[in-house]
Symmetry: C2
Subunit: 544 residues, 2 copies
Amino acid sequence: MRGLMMDWPLTITSMVDYAGRYHGTQEIVTRTIEGPIHRYTFADLRLRALKLGQALTTLGVGLGDRIGSLAFNTYRHLEMFHGVTGIGAVLHTVNPRLFPEQIVYIVEHAEDSWMFADLACWPIIEALADKLPGVKGWVVMTDRAHMPETKLANVHCYDDLIDGASGDFQWASFDENTAATMCYTSGTTGNPKGVVYSHRSIVLATFAASMGDVLGAAPKGGDVLMPISPFFHANGWMLPFTPCMTGNKMVLPGRSYEPEKLLELMNDEGVTVTAAVPTIWTMLMDYLDRTGKRPTSLTRVLIGGSAPSEGMLRKIELELGIEVYQGWGMTETSAIGTKGGLKPGAGNLPWEEQAALKMTQGRGAYGVEMRIVDDAGQVLPNDGEASGVLQVRGPWIASGYFKGEGGNPLSADGWLNTGDVARLRPDGYMVLTDRAKDVIKSGGEWISSIDLENTASSHPAVLEAAVIAAHHPKWDERPLLIVVLKQDASLTRDELLTWLAPRLAKWWLPDDVVFVDEIPHTATGKISKLTLRQQFRDHVLPTI
Amino acid sequence: MRGLMMDWPLTITSMVDYAGRYHGTQEIVTRTIEGPIHRYTFADLRLRALKLGQALTTLGVGLGDRIGSLAFNTYRHLEMFHGVTGIGAVLHTVNPRLFPEQIVYIVEHAEDSWMFADLACWPIIEALADKLPGVKGWVVMTDRAHMPETKLANVHCYDDLIDGASGDFQWASFDENTAATMCYTSGTTGNPKGVVYSHRSIVLATFAASMGDVLGAAPKGGDVLMPISPFFHANGWMLPFTPCMTGNKMVLPGRSYEPEKLLELMNDEGVTVTAAVPTIWTMLMDYLDRTGKRPTSLTRVLIGGSAPSEGMLRKIELELGIEVYQGWGMTETSAIGTKGGLKPGAGNLPWEEQAALKMTQGRGAYGVEMRIVDDAGQVLPNDGEASGVLQVRGPWIASGYFKGEGGNPLSADGWLNTGDVARLRPDGYMVLTDRAKDVIKSGGEWISSIDLENTASSHPAVLEAAVIAAHHPKWDERPLLIVVLKQDASLTRDELLTWLAPRLAKWWLPDDVVFVDEIPHTATGKISKLTLRQQFRDHVLPTI
């Protein structure tokens, strides 16, 4: 027996239409790439998105066509999230910080038919255009006055496209499972893989992100939201969509990530909630320390991407009086994996106990099922002790990658392997212990490379530390510690191991230490363990 | 091009499983029908719901079977919402306040295969059982000790069913559009009509109800929710589901609607949010006035079902310091039609201006599109001036009634006619002016019977007033005012009309006044205009 309810598809157009109609006068403020502060309303957003859809249709773009963007968080990029998807085309946000060859690879792989770039990213287009024969034309996301000189053919000015459209236009009609946006995973191993979000998955993840304890509109709706995390990371943690549903004022920083610029914009616009990676907070706190300045309206910060240190948490909460929500997610989970809000009642705990909860990777959110499994795929208990590969399932979790890249990523019973190793606590909190491919499997037991790195990094002479697995004849794998010393510091292998010994379980102690001048990093700033594993492939551990 | 996201059906089981796993220790407190306060957790709820599903399966209940309930808000009724729907059966909540013949009609029409009743409602079963030959068996929602003596055959004790199940049971798998619950509209005209909610519509409406400005978990999740509105009204305004998603403590009043009992439970359990019709508040405020007692933890009340008076709003907000959210919805909109929270920024307005917003029927919620149309079906502007029949569209709006009763209720372009007459303001607020069938159509213009009734009721000698349309040879319809005077009051037709004249537009002035001893009401306490229209079918208006 079926319900007798309307068949009303969950589409992004329904969110931007809602925003235009029900909080049309609410503001969206942007620090533009061109420089000045730009402000307009959700009604303006909707109208310009509609005009963009109309202009794209005139250019021949239709259902399923991929449109690439190389852009930071501005109102024009926001318009693309709604205007491109509203005609059933697919917005492919490309990370401008990737290496040029990676950008070429993913634009070609996605078969982007048009590329849009803001002025900050336009030089990338100029440099790569002749390697992208599949792209039919280029759009510079600026106005006529700021159009760059170019020798490229078929270059359009974004504002001219908008101004040339009448706005007398209807969104396309399509099934809610239609592709809406795409995002490639950075891929520390193998080729980058394209995650394809649907209209349905985005509406549902936006509902989840709008809940009070995930991100949430305050009861009076007075929260002002600043998405610092770029829209090209997992399509911006659903933040291009959430304010459309909740009606919150939105503040976009453009590409101005300098702490003084961020703080100025935050304070000028009364921002109450931001979302950013810890790096932003490291820079911002250093700036606050140096200048004595303070955020004047901020009440809540969402931290994701990687974990904040305890020092960061302490400082933000106790010195600045701002609440920290740590969340976990990945491109494959539409960024929304856990929620950072404390569980009911925990707000009354002493701060040190709250902090222990906040240092976890958050609580399960409705719509994301989590479990951990061992090497054989057996499900392990949620007892806070067992550590296993984290698998997830839900309506906004990827079921595969574009063009089948990387094969079927799902388990036989339909769960996605996240590649993270975690513990699941009985109270619902999740604690990441490592990336699955970085964990050291020593005699059937797992050693967390992250824990070893954190411990080694706390030695006063150590600037950076990395741990990888080295082959061991008896234990299969044993930890190899790779260290960069601080300038003018000196430390021997044995001194470091002696220092580490009381700080680690005996069987976790690295079998060897190698000192290097530099540890290789990926384009997104993470330690490239892939490169390290190649460099130290033939490393022979000392036998004791 | 399709998204590459998991096909994860939106089911009620996913909500109760989430509740059991992620806030398993959160409390659900019930004032039982048997008397004592009962408390247990969401983990208990999940386990007992699972056992109920298992027991029903053993009884032969399967996908699509209808299970009727005659019950107030208790943990056992809550378990039915999850246990019955979790095996793909359909929970049909029956309003025990309906007339016996209506109960017989809808139980037969829904073809309920089993009927559950709590001790308060069991006498209804005893009285009606022999008129319900289609029902295979009966379940008394109590424990063994409280089982009533009965001569009926095939009567089970609810707790025995639960205790007899091992809990080693899996929820059924089914499509998200599968029917989950049913609710009949009271039907002031024609036969009662069955609205059939789906798993998908309930999950989506629950998402909407969980948003900060609709109902909402507070950021720290500390809100304690008391659904006073019975679960059999539009399936309880989504409140049997919302706390499963948000993790809020839940307090259920059973059938104890007496103000002293409600207040005691509220204060004892730290209730911060309630949901109720205005009648409850009228009784409660009278009690507070008489006793000087006060709610000690309440911060927010949701009022729906009908509109609160301005006096009620003023008293709750200014005297008690509790915020009022007025929402509008109906059985056909899964109760969630508008949201009562003020729009962003409005919280800073002077109270009188906030009050003016709160006296509207609320703002549009994401997921419910609203429009107004004239008699010819032409869409009217959202200008706050035009008044027309309210139509709605969305994923939790009924597309028709069970067994096609009443024919296709949708417009040619797929909107549901609500039968309400409303104005839609440019700022997104909706104002109801009348029921479509009660509006007086005078010379092509509409006169609101509700406005006339409110004005007439404010005369000091008037106890109750009703206005219906009477036939008029020139204007088609003109208002006829029907009045019950207060005890010992005296008032003539001409005195009342003279008193009304300066208070109404000239053409709104009733053409006649009739004094009666009593105005007929429906089972749900509303004025029965159907009966009045029959009584005064032949009333001849005086000619001027």
